[in-house]
């Protein structure tokens, strides 16, 4: 079949290492003009060999005594920078880059970006607004926090509580994210999830930002609009959210300064309250979940992974990176969104995409598979959808309403 095109890889540009296995990222790197190597666990070896993908085996467990080894290997190969693809490889990238770039500060920075509690403190110190938060080591801590938050809000006994949010310190996105409203619900938290970070609930509009940074400057800033957290996202956002672009840009610049970020890619989350105040949620130093990179490619036509490689590569020139990125919003060919499907029934037997979804002008594709089990496990935390559905169209409002509407449909019956 079609022979793989051999791209000319420019020896004058950087040599990058991708930390973690992501086929989309590998594809992007493979089609790009820079030398690359994939650093991934041993199970990826056969695949990489078969397909001629440059590869170094490494098991990303906790940092340990052998951590220097991989940094040394990459340095010997002439690699310029390591790029984290997953939450779990962020500290590895920090550790490796501190060696490759001879800059020990990078490791500290990575540790900061890996721990949600530390991250919030640092943000607070930098003058960024955050909600009320605390660390919990057991269930008692959670109940106390829930009570105190609601007392602060002047609730009386018997009034419905405002919820609090629980998040694991070091997991990506929605993984391990729970919403607690009553002390009874605290019992449902397994012991092994502690310690966790607790946050007060902010009534506001939550959104995420993707920012590519090179030489300390923002090169491209995208605002991803959540329709419902954990269900759906689309880019570019509606004009209602885009009107905050200036304010958001200033927030991101503050964040860059506070965390001392010179290069790379960040993915922070914010709330904007009805009075236009921004609250910082958290920030990650890796590609976002929910296939936002793929949505960006669909909407703008540029490959977000390649953008990331450029942002990390110290040899990227000013002209090159300026030419690479489009102009936000105006250059978009349309709006791309996706919806995460959760089965709504307790017992399901088959996958049946509703005709109204499939026949919609905006429908693009889905990656749902038939159910393997009939009984649906009760959902306790966010982030375990059964697959994504992709949409693409002209109008952000139609997109928003369409995504919202999907929540009322059954995909598994």
């Amino acid at each position: 079949m079609a022979k793989r095109e051999t791209v000319n890889r420019d020896p004058n540009k950087g040599y990058v290492a991708l930390l973690g296995w992501s086929l989309n990222a590998v594809e992007a790197a493979d089609r790009f003009d820079r030398r690359y190597v994939v650093v991934a666990p041993e199970w990826a070896e056969a695949y990489c060999k078969e397909h001629d993908i440059p590869y170094v085996p490494w098991n990303f467990e906790r940092l340990n005594d052998r951590s220097m080894e991989i940094a040394q290997t990459l340095q010997d190969m002439g690699v310029d920078v390591a790029i984290p693809l997953f939450e779990e490889t962020v500290e590895w990238a920090g550790a490796i880059n501190s060696v490759l770039m001879d800059n020990p500060r990078l490791f500290g920075q990575a540790m900061l970006l890996r721990d949600k509690a530390l991250m919030k403190r640092r943000a607070q110190l930098g003058g960024i607004r955050v909600g009320i938060f605390e660390e919990a080591h057991d269930k008692g801590d959670v109940i106390r926090f829930l009570k105190r938050v609601n007392q602060t809000l002047l609730k009386l006994d018997g009034d419905p509580n405002d919820p609090i949010h629980l998040k694991a310190f070091d997991k990506a996105g929605c993984l391990g994210h729970r919403v607690i409203r009553t002390p009874d619900e605290v019992d449902s938290i397994p012991e092994e999830e502690f310690p966790v970070l607790m946050e007060s609930h902010l009534d506001g509009w939550e959104f995420a930002v993707e920012a590519w940074i090179h030489n300390g400057k923002i090169r491209f800033l995208n605002i991803s609009e959540y329709v419902t957290l954990g269900y759906s996202v689309f880019v570019p956002a509606t004009p209602e959210l885009e009107q905050y672009r200036e304010a958001i840009t200033r927030q991101i610049e503050k964040l860059i300064k506070t965390f001392d970020i010179e290069f790379g890619f960040i993915h922070p989350e914010y709330f904007v309250t009805s009075d236009g105040e921004m609250y910082f949620g958290e920030v990650a130093y890796r590609p976002p979940g929910f296939k936002v990179f793929e949505l960006l490619e669909r909407a703008y036509g540029f490959n977000a992974y390649q953008g990331m490689i450029m942002a990390f590569d110290p040899k990227t020139t000013e002209e090159e990176i300026t030419a690479f990125f489009p102009k936000a919003v105006v250059d978009a060919k349309g709006v791309a969104g996706c919806f995460g499907v959760y089965p709504r029934r307790r017992v399901v037997s088959k996958l049946e995409i509703p005709a109204e979804t499939e026949d919609h002008d905006y429908f693009e594709s889905h990656e749902l598979t038939p159910p393997v089990e009939e009984t649906v496990t009760k959902r306790t935390a966010f982030g375990t959808h059964w697959g994504l559905i992709y949409f693409f169209g002209e109008d952000p409002h139609v997109m928003r309403d369409l995504l919202k509407h999907q929540e009322d449909l059954d995909f598994y019956v």
Partner: protein
């Protein structure tokens, strides 16, 4: 603008916007490196699905067929090699509840349509092959074309059925709607003329036509008339089975019949069977009923001539035992095999009758039973199935087919033994079925089928007659092992393998006209003169060919492009009714009637062929021949073939498979000859 016009223009713009999405999805698949293609498939499948749901969607996909394939949509799937696709499997795919399966099948069929229409020149599929394949697909799926949706279809497929139905409709429209059935019937007759052993798929097609004709909702117009004889040979063959009453009722009717009525039934079935080669399940009920009644009526039911009748009377008990064991409604074809076997008179060869007695009571190994059950189910017993297969192979030695497997040599060997050395074949069957091991000697060294691990075929074949099903895997491994033992010898391994593998009668003399190392033509003129001298009665002292001889041909497609090396058997070289000297040969391929391009069309009937024989005028045959064997002690006159005739043959060679094999300075070696994989 009327409502419907507005509607259709809305449909058109919908199709246009969907086609844009499809093109984008295809683009992204095409651009992805191989390892990333699987990630892009979902989008292409789903975009295609939506296009196919629209009116005009099939045409749109057909136009993009080549782009689909080149983008890599079939990569790594069963659909990647269209030449190996089995038409009857299309039904399962088109009725699948899985959207992706329906869609990829549809894309594949539309690709074949583009090939058949000549719009897409495919590297491994010719216009005729594609056309032929699609005709069969249509035949198998007639129900989708004419029938109305049943509850089952709605339940399992829902809206997906729209795709399957509009696909089949589109295929029929493009291929020629009104001719589909008539073409199909012609096709069935053409294949039946070759009297294949395996007729399951033909029976399936005939049944389909019968079902469509019986359904009042289906209007076939004037087409389908030619199917009468085919349908009646399976259903309603005789007076007492006219309305397809079911086996129980038919048996009750037989029990009340007198000799005259039974005779009437017997001749009715016999005539239909010898007319078509198809045997009705009711026929089996009659034949079993006649057991113990009357040997005379049994002979009538088998439709025997005086030769066969004589043989039946001599071996009455054996035949009774065979019928008792092997003939059941589901193994009715065995009746035809039995009748032809008796006609051949091979029971008079001393070892054959006792060998058949052994076969009747043969204990089968566990493995053999499993294989037979897997392929045919367990009713009747595996032993009955195998015995049916033995009867058919001995009765129709030229009806052996290789199925969709690259095992032409093994199929050829079995056919040759059934034809020339039946007791040896029976011995092979016993070794395979009872002992799970066959040993054949190669240059004095025993080769066991158990010791050699791999054959030419990489997976166990399943689409074969019962005998081939058990014996072919053994033969295939032995054949491959013989080939391995020739590694390192100079020249083509068939020189040593063929005589050792097939039997003492295949000539030890060997000629090949291709240089094995370079793939270039070599000594073509001498090769041809030698072939004429060995086989052509005008040049070999008017000696008819005595034993069947293995030979190798370079198969070409209808555009005369080289397809591959293939094993055949030369059976006879003689004048046909039009006084043209022809080579009659056996082709283990399932359908011998092939167009090899440049005017070379293999005939299977109408030129003096016996059932199962293929034939070509000597010149044309010689132009595709690349290997033959001869008796080194019987050399004919090399020099006397006229220069004109020789040049005509060479012209054929140079215009077809030899086009890029002419050893001249400007031609470089490309394809060597390694094996004649069939």
């Amino acid at each position: 603008m009327s409502y419907s016009e507005a509607n259709s223009s809305a449909d058109a713009s919908k199709l246009e916007s969907l086609s844009k999405r499809l093109d984008e999805a295809l683009q992204s698949l095409a651009e992805a490196p191989d390892f990333a293609k699987p990630m892009k498939l979902g989008r292409v499948f789903q975009a295609t699905k939506r296009v196919l749901m629209q009116e005009g969607g099939c045409a749109l996909v057909e136009q993009r067929a080549q782009r689909f394939e080149e983008a890599g949509i079939f990569q790594g799937s069963d659909w990647a090699n269209p030449q190996f696709l089995v038409p009857s499997l299309s039904t399962f795919a088109l009725k699948s509840p899985q959207a992706d399966t329906v869609v990829i099948e549809a894309i594949s069929e539309l690709r074949l349509l583009a090939i058949a229409m000549g719009d897409y020149e495919h590297p491994s599929m010719s216009v005729e092959q594609a056309h032929h394949y699609l005709t069969q697909v249509l035949a198998i799926n007639l129900e989708l074309l004419f029938g109305t949706a049943g509850e089952e279809e709605r339940e399992s497929q829902g809206r997906l059925a729209i795709i399957s139905r509009s696909l089949v409709k589109h295929l029929a429209e493009r291929i020629g709607y009104e001719h589909v059935i008539d073409k199909l019937i012609d096709e069935i007759w053409r294949i039946l003329q070759q009297r294949p052993i395996q007729v399951d798929s033909i029976k399936q097609m005939v049944t389909q036509i019968a079902v469509c004709r019986a359904n009042p909702d289906i209007d076939l117009g004037s087409s389908g008339q030619g199917a009468d004889r085919l349908i009646s040979s399976l259903y309603g063959t005789t007076q007492a089975s006219r309305e397809d009453p079911g086996i129980g009722i038919y048996l009750e009717r037989l029990e009340t019949m007198d000799a005259g009525a039974l005779q009437y039934e017997a001749t009715g079935f016999a005539r239909a069977m010898h007319d078509t080669g198809l045997v009705s399940p009711y026929h089996a009920v009659l034949v079993r009923h006649l057991l113990g009644h009357s040997t005379h009526l049994l002979g009538e039911a088998l439709g025997l001539s005086s030769t066969g009748r004589d043989c039946l009377l001599c071996y009455d008990e054996l035949v009774q035992a065979i019928v008792g064991e092997a003939i059941h409604p589901r193994t009715a074809q065995g009746i035809y095999g039995l009748a032809l076997m008796l006609e051949r008179g091979i029971l008079y060869q001393p070892p054959v009758a006792p060998a058949l007695w052994r076969q009747v009571a043969l204990p089968l190994s566990h493995y053999s039973r499993e294989r037979l059950n897997l392929a045919y189910g367990d009713d009747p017993s595996p032993r009955a199935r195998l015995l049916e297969g033995v009867l058919c192979m001995l009765g129709q030695p030229l009806g052996v087919g290789q199925g969709n497997n690259p095992t032409c040599q093994s199929a050829r060997a079995m056919s040759m033994w059934a034809y020339n050395d039946p007791d040896y074949l029976l011995q092979m069957v016993v070794w395979a079925a009872r002992d799970d091991e066959i040993i054949i000697h190669f240059e004095g060294q025993p080769i066991s089928s158990m010791a050699s691990l791999s054959g030419v075929a990489t997976s166990l074949p399943i689409d074969l007659d019962p005998v081939s099903l058990l014996v072919v895997p053994h033969l295939d491994r032995i054949y491959a092992e013989m080939g391995r033992r020739c590694v390192g010898r100079e020249g083509d391994p068939h020189r040593w393998v063929n005589p050792e593998f097939h039997g003492w009668w295949s000539g030890r003399g060997f000629r090949i006209n291709v240089d094995v190392a370079t793939g270039q033509l070599e000594d073509l003129e001498d090769f041809l003169r030698h072939f004429y001298a060995s086989y052509h009665p005008y040049y070999n002292g008017n000696q008819p060919l005595i034993h069947p001889q293995p030979a190798g041909i370079a198969v070409t497609d209808s555009a005369a492009r080289f397809i591959g090396w293939h094993a055949i058997t030369i059976l006879r070289v003689t004048l046909d009714p039009q006084e043209v000297m022809r080579v009659y040969f056996f082709n283990p391929n399932n359908d011998s009637g092939q167009n090899w391009g440049d005017g070379v069309v293999v005939s299977t009937s109408g030129h003096g062929e016996r059932f199962g024989e293929a034939s070509l005028p000597v010149e044309q045959f010689a132009s595709r021949l690349y290997i033959f064997h001869f008796d080194p002690l019987e050399r004919g006159e090399l020099a006397t073939v006229t220069e004109e005739e020789l040049q005509r043959v060479i012209g054929h060679v140079h215009r077809s498979w030899g086009a890029d094999r002419v050893p001249a300075m400007e031609f470089q070696a490309s394809t060597g000859v390694d094996s004649s994989a069939g």
